[in-house]
Every structure is written in structure tokens, then in C-alpha cells.
């Protein structure tokens, strides 16, 4: 049994144990505890912590450090990640591994201090200018947040891709039991800059001279990631009349809701995507061909993931293209079981119209 730990602290410790060499960031609620924790924990383990002058600078420090083959991390919330976009795109261009954490706060612009999932479209559909994507993973408990951050560094090195841990204020701030894994000591990647231009594994900079070859390489890499990195949790799909989808804390809420309603005989199933890019389209394969609706449950004005539910959901099974896709959108916070229940009744009664 692990100790009670705050989500943000667990993610900070996961980075340390995964062999992170360097963190740079700028404070913002509700992610700040990650950097507060690392500010003393990193030096304790002989790792580098930098409080940068801005998110822009933090991301560029991370980019410079990544070039040496170091394991790098930055964390922020909402608008702070907006500031990092240029650096994110440079990381993609150079195919440097790195891990980012977005502890989302609800809303546009300055946003609010409330928990939310309003950054889905930015994180999942793009990564700065260019066509690149980040591998986006979303936890629904403190333990899972710890585990995903711990694994994210390996994943990012394997695919030479940024990995984004997309979580919510609610989870960053919440305390739960969490068990820590072993401390890893990881050397810098052998391709990293050392200052010696003549060494064998010299890593070309930028896109290289052949932009066409770079484009093909990037595209092929993304096909591989789509095939290998889909992750989800699901239940009760084979006879489900309705399938609810939710990630993060809403994902946890729908799981409880579905289990409770199943006990009452309601034919309802759930899918909780863990990877958001790549979206776990394979999860749709086992769904009852007679399903009457997909329901995307999100803490958002009018949904982000709902578009992927429509896009991928309608691709599978016989006649899925006609299955309506509903959006069960919850205002800031975490949807309650009662809220989900009321909206579900509206969907079944026809009061709520489908989005797609």
C-alpha cells in the first residue's frame, strides 16, 4: 500500500524515479506543486532544476537540454502551455524526446482556477506549427498519473516524440494512495550533443537538408505510433445500447456510473481512453452492432473529444456511421454521477440532440 500523495507531487516524483535529468518551468495554478516539489527534490538527486523567466524560455531551455540526450520535463497549465508552443515545435522538428505535463485549468485566455478538459483540441490535434503530434496520455487516478509519467520518458525516447500527460486541476490537487516504483539511473542518450562533431553517432540538426525525406520519416513514425500506442480501458461493450466515453476524471466518473446502472439492468458500456493521441479506435471493435448512441462525457464548453468519438466511432462495426454521437458536457469541475444520470435520461428521451 502506498502513501497518500497529491497528484502533482506524485508526478514530480515519477519524473525523478524515471531518470529525468532536467526540469525547467514557470509557476501556474494548478500545476505549480510539480515545480515546487522538483525545486528541492531534483537537486537532492543531482538533477537540474531551473525556474525560468517565462514558459517560452522554459521550453527553449528544455529544447537545449534535450539536444544533449538528457531526459527533460516541463509542466504547466492551460495558457502556460500556449506560451510553449514554439519550443514544442522545435522539439518536434529535431525529434527530441521530452515529457510535458498539462494540469488543465478550465477556459480560454487566462481561464479559471477550476478543473477542466478544455485544452483537448490543442494537445491532441497539433503540437505547434507543422504537422507533428505529441503522444497524449491521460490518467484518471493519482497512481495512474504516477505510472504514466514514469513510463512516458521511455515512450518518448522510443518514438523520438514528445509525450504529453494531459491531466486536470482536480487530479493534480487530489490526494490518493500511490505506490512508487524503483529509482532508475539513466545515462544521456548516446546520440546527444557532446561538443565532439566527429563521433560516430552524430545527430543531424533540425530537419536536415532533405526536407522531403524528413516528411516521409515523420509520417511513417506517426503510423507506427498509431498502431502501437493505443491504450484504453473499457467494459460492458458487447451488448451495450449506449456507450459512454470519457478520459481523466470524467472517465473515472462514467466507469462508476456505468457499473452502478449495470447492476440495475441498464444496458450501457464505457470506454475510457488513456491515449488520446493516438485515439484508441481499436476500442470500438467489440461494441454491440445494435448500439443506439455514443456519449462523450467531458468537462468542456462544447467538447473536444466528441469529434474523435464521431470520427473513429463511426468507422467501426456494421452501420456505426448512422449511430448518433452525443456530447455530455459538464461545466468546470468534475461531472457528478447525478449530473451524468440526468443528462443520460435527456439523451434517451430525445430531449438532448446529438452533436454528430
Amino acid at each position: 500500500m502506498g502513501d497518500m500523495v497529491k497528484g502533482n507531487v506524485a508526478m514530480g516524483e515519477a519524473a525523478i524515479r524515471a531518470g529525468m535529468h532536467m526540469y525547467a518551468g514557470y509557476p501556474i495554478t494548478p500545476s505549480t506543486e510539480i515545480m515546487e516539489y522538483l525545486s528541492w527534490r531534483a537537486p537532492q538527486e543531482d538533477r537540474v532544476f531551473i525556474q525560468a523567466e517565462s514558459e517560452m524560455a522554459a521550453m527553449k531551455m528544455v529544447y537545449g537540454a534535450a539536444a544533449t540526450g538528457a531526459r527533460v520535463l516541463t509542466a504547466s497549465s492551460g495558457l502556460g502551455i500556449s506560451c510553449k508552443q514554439e519550443g514544442v515545435s522545435y522539439m518536434n522538428m529535431a525529434q527530441y524526446p521530452g515529457v510535458m505535463i498539462n494540469v488543465v485549468r478550465y477556459g480560454d485566455g487566462l481561464g479559471s482556477l477550476m478543473s477542466g478538459q478544455t485544452d483537448y483540441l490543442r494537445e491532441v490535434k497539433g503540437a505547434g506549427n507543422g504537422d507533428a503530434r505529441m503522444i497524449v496520455l491521460s490518467p484518471s487516478s493519482v497512481q495512474e498519473a504516477y505510472d504514466l509519467v514514469y513510463e512516458a520518458f521511455d515512450i518518448s525516447q522510443k518514438y523520438k516524440s514528445l509525450v504529453m500527460i494531459l491531466t486536470e486541476g482536480g487530479l493534480g490537487q487530489m490526494m490518493e494512495e500511490c505506490e512508487y516504483s524503483e529509482m532508475k539511473t539513466v545515462p544521456f542518450a548516446s546520440w546527444g550533443y557532446t561538443g565532439d562533431r566527429s563521433k560516430d553517432e552524430y545527430r543531424p540538426m533540425g530537419m536536415g537538408a532533405d526536407v522531403y525525406a524528413h516528411a516521409l520519416e515523420m509520417a511513417a513514425k506517426r503510423v507506427t505510433i498509431k498502431e502501437e500506442m493505443q491504450r484504453w480501458e473499457s467494459g460492458f461493450l458487447d451488448d451495450a445500447e449506449y456507450v459512454m466515453l470519457g478520459y481523466g476524471l470524467p472517465g473515472r466518473a462514467i466507469k462508476s456510473y456505468v457499473k452502478a446502472r449495470r447492476a440495475e439492468g441498464e444496458k450501457i458500456g464505457y470506454i475510457r481512453p488513456i491515449s488520446l493521441w493516438p485515439f484508441p479506435e481499436k476500442a470500438f471493435k467489440g461494441i454491440n452492432p445494435g448500439v443506439k448512441g455514443f456519449i462523450s462525457v467531458e468537462t468542456s464548453d462544447d467538447g473536444g473529444m466528441v469529434e474523435d468519438v464521431a470520427l473513429y466511432g463511426k468507422k467501426y462495426g456494421s452501420g456505426f456511421e448512422k449511430v448518433p454521437v452525443y456530447g455530455l458536457f459538464c461545466p468546470p469541475g468534475i461531472p457528478t454521477l447525478r449530473f451524468i444520470g440526468e443528462k443520460f435520461e435527456d439523451i434517451k428521451s430525445g430531449k438532448m440532440k446529438e452533436v454528430f
Binding site: K60, M61, G64, A67, Y193, S198, Y202, G206
Partner: protein, 247 residues
Amino acid sequence: MAKMKYPEQIVANIPFCPGCGHGIIVRLMVECVNELGYSDKIVMHQAVGCCSLVGLGLDWEMLVGAHGGGGANATGLKRMLKDTALVIAYQGDGDAYNIGLAETLNAAYRNENITVIAVNNTNFGMTGGQMSWTTLPGQRTTTSVDGRDSKTSGMPIKVPELIANSFDTAYVARGTVTSPAEIRKTKGFIKQGLQNQIDGKGHSLIEILSPCPTNWHSNPITDSLDRIEKELIPFYYPIGELKVKGE
């Protein structure tokens, strides 16, 4: 005719315009690094701007820097490499003093152990000669076609003086490349900036006044160098060491 000798790290022609100061500056950086015994322990942050042309002919490990990000990119590199390699941030004036002013000043503010070479040619050379913060009052550029109007766009910025007077850094100097004597002095400044890094003394900034004949629309040899000597140095950008820590 005797063949010109280049340092072996310069493997191809770097296509700066005729009369451009960048070429001389690249050569000086390479010579200094080699003479200090760091030829296989050098990483350069290569800024966006005409600096970026260096990638076409200099055989060093180079980070494709974000525009203005030199202070931060080089911080990331140096904090990881520590004393195993030298890190140079090679930047233009627009890069280091316009878009990158925050990163440039903050790296100096933290006294990062890096060496910044800022090439001041009083405009955005790479993008075709727009006004930069170092453009002189009255200077015509493609975004100040009647001459820079300082009432609305500010006076030329002097970042070396700002850093020398405000922050606890190791070294600040300004040099130029208008004559063999000035080139020798500038080389001395660069070498001192690198020696400071080797000694762990902290941040060094060397600004170099450099001709951009193409965008100054001037004769590469005579007018361009004249402008630096008669306008830039006496009225705006005095040359020499501005700060040597401990002195």
C-alpha cells in the same frame, strides 16, 4: 598565388554576402575555440538570422535555435554539458535584442556560464533589412522608409551597457571588424569570453559591430566600414571592454 588557409572546421563556403562581417566573426570564433583546445568540445546555438547560414559550412555541433531563444537554448545546453564542452550563443541584434531581449537579459541576469556573440549590423539582415532596435535614428530600412523616427520607435538599444551596468556578469565587450587591428582586438574579446566560461566565471557578452552592405545599400569595403567608424562608434556604440568582473 598563395592559398587561403581556413581552420579545418570550416568545410564549405558559407554564403554570406560580399563584405559581410559575419564571415570574419565565424572565423574568429573557430580560431579562438581551437586555440583554447576545445575543437572537439564545442556546441553552438545558431540563431535565426544570417547567423543560421553558418550551418552550411561550419562543422560544429549546432542547435537550430529558436528566434531570440539563445539565452534559454544555451542555458539548457550548458546546464547539461557543464564543463565538458563550451557553449556559444551566436546571435544577431534583432534576434538577441528585439525578439530575444527577455531571454538575453535573463541569461545575463542569472549569470549563466555561456558566451554570447551578438552581431550588431543595425538591422534584420536575413529578412531583407527591416528596422531593429539598434537601427540608428534617421536610418532608412524597409520598415522605416523615411528614416527611423525615434519619437515613435525608440532610440538605439545598448544591451551591452545595460548588462554591464545592471547585472553581476563576468564580462561585456564591444568590438568591430573594420580593420586588421580591430579584428585582432575583437578576437581578444571573444577569447576572453570563452576563457571566462572555461574558468566558470559566468556570463560573457561580446557585441560586434558588423557591416551589412547588402541592406545598407553601400559599397562593401569603403562606405560600410566608414559608417561603422564615423557614425556607429563615435555617436552610439563605443568599442572596448565595458565590464571585466573583479576590475
